[in-house]
Symmetry: C2
Subunit: 341 residues, 2 copies
DNA sequence: CTGTTAGCGCCTTCAG
DNA sequence: CTGAAGGCGCTAACAG
């Protein structure tokens, strides 16, 4: 494999000159520039990225880490879409992505720190979103450029998030407008910021419409269809009434649908259902499920762009910046009691 | 950030000695070893991976590339699962993964070549699977260690694949055993090896059971639910009869279900349906859809393991090796005409 | 067992 | 506009 020296020799110049034409320096005669280019082509020369990284002490690669136990995380294409988004802007700006999938949050934290301490990456995109998050603290302490997908409740960090509060508020309002007044909320793990935010939006909608804020209608469920089903069962057994379900995830919405079927409730007539994430198959369910569509691809592009900007100009990292990507309520039959189907 | 020299100074030894204890050399006195360790801790020293890569001329990172146009690729969690598998073994063997998602096959090829020419990666895992694939040719020509997820019809390369032929054969046989004798096959892009293989398995099953091999029952469809629906419509309009559908993807199976609903056909009584991939929601559809479950996670682990082995011992790359991961037919109601529901 | 000496391939002052 | 020299941080013979 040809090195810069080989090219220099062939072009009868010094390595520094070759280095300069690679860098696109303009204080170089057109003639030698062409000579060098010819030599590079002839030798099929490609600069060694590692050597360059060492000399420049940056790698032009971004680490993306996430912690997932099982395949549950991928039951909807959220992360894949985020990755596509990130990858897309990384490509255009000539950055690379180092991927690391861990099993636990601790593993993820360790991996993040390793990546940056080993100097394999210039920055990090992470997506944890626990209300109390040691990873974020560690990253700040280590002084790494990073952006969070989601948001931090404690620290002023760079982040890009979807508008969970607003989305839940709108979705709940939609149900209310459809005439549902006793809306149950199925939440995911309430240690997650995203859960808290969605609950918030749900509450806001109730308040806005002067509906009672019945805390007992909010239930936490295991992250599965069955979990959603069981949560509703618990509600029913406790004698809590509800005529609609605002689900913090499509899986829960599916659980609600199962619940309706189980007890012979008609959807949407007797039970309205709205989900979150708009999984690809939602439209195919019977009845088609209303769901909040999250623009995961955009989350990815924005996160990468933000990070790359900060890398360009570290000053920017000094200030908190939270980009919010609006989601979209996709209204289908499961929540439409009034209008046409 | 501390370097090896700092550690050396603090421990009052030479850098090489430090290097040796990092490498875990055993021809070093326990005493100095401990002294060095103490110095490393004190300085919070972590070896710079880039410098090490340059010196050793390998990076301990594997490139994973794939080409996807839209989110279609992620409508089922195949690639995410593959990534999880790859990542899992990479972690244990202290390798990293460089991820690149391209829009087109050409872009992917360019990216692969770039990664290896720039020496960013030691090897590649790719997942193209066109019958005629320029990427594979290029990789061979470039003499890169790589393994293919899927299989090559032309070149003897290292690959790990799921048993598409066998799986389609078994799934089709299952339909036949359930009393369906006029089975239509909805195929994806027939430029892909995977499509060809599944068609093959389908044909084998027909032959085995002495059923006529009606070529007109095989239709190619756009990769979507609608595509599957339309494909069947075309069949119907051409007057081709069928009492079951073997779908090369769950999306097509869903299209078949839509078709059944549209024409008032009962599933499974009047139309049997089997899909491919066992997407998470298949079991929730009404009726639940029979589908071939592919062990994507295992494909990922096997691919990574194979590649890492080859990297250890380049001799192994000389011989073709094709690992096949068996899939599993998940039988649900949509294909069960005989037994209990 | 340990230190010295050269690189790995490229970039970057510093001169001229 | 171009070359020489040194360095990025680590590893790997080669001597002792």
């Amino acid at each position: 494999m040809a090195t810069i020296k080989d090219v220099a020799k062939l072009a009868a110049v010094s390595p520094s000159t070759v280095s300069r034409v690679i860098a696109g320096s303009n204080r170089i005669s057109l003639e030698t520039k062409m000579r060098v280019h010819r030599a590079m082509e002839q030798l099929n020369y490609v600069p060694n990225a590692i050597a360059r990284s060492l000399a420049r002490s940056h790698t032009r690669t971004i680490g993306f880490t996430l912690a997932r136990q099982a395949d549950q995380a991928f039951s909807n294409p959220f992360f894949p879409e985020v990755m596509r988004g990130m990858s897309s802007v990384a490509q255009t700006k000539d950055y690379n992505i180092l991927l690391s999938i861990s099993r636990t949050a601790e593993e993820e934290k360790a991996k993040c720190l390793q990546l940056i301490r080993e100097r394999r990456v210039d920055g990090l995109i992470v997506s944890t979103s626990r209300a109390k998050d040691p990873l974020i603290d560690a990253l700040i302490k280590e002084d790494v450029p990073f952006v969070l997908i989601g948001r931090s409740m404690e620290k002023p960090v760079l982040s890009v998030n979807n508008d969970n509060v607003q989305a839940a508020r709108l979705a709940t309002s939609h149900l209310i407008q459809q005439g549902y007044h006793k809306i149950a909320f199925i939440s995911g793990d309430t240690n997650l910021v995203v859960s808290l935010d969605r609950i918030d939006g749900y509450k806001q909608a109730l308040i806005e419409h002067n509906l009672p804020l019945a805390a007992e209608r909010i239930v936490e469920a295991d992250f599965s269809i069955e979990g959603g089903f069981q949560a509703l069962n618990r509600l029913k057994q406790s004698g809590v009434e509800f005529d609609a379900v605002m689900a913090a995830d499509d899986l829960f919405a599916l659980g609600a649908l199962k619940f309706a079927e189980h007890y012979g409730l008609k959807v949407p007539e007797e039970l309205g259902i709205v989900g979150f994430n708009d999984s690809p198959l939602m439209s195919f369910i019977d009845p088609p499920l209303t769901s909040v569509k999250i623009l995961a691809y955009e989350l990815g592009t924005e996160a990468m762009e933000l990070l790359l900007n900060v890398l360009d100009d570290p000053e920017k990292a000094r200030t908190k910046k939270e980009i919010v990507i609006a989601s979209e309520l996709i209204i289908r039959k499961s929540s439409q009691r009034c209008e046409e189907e």
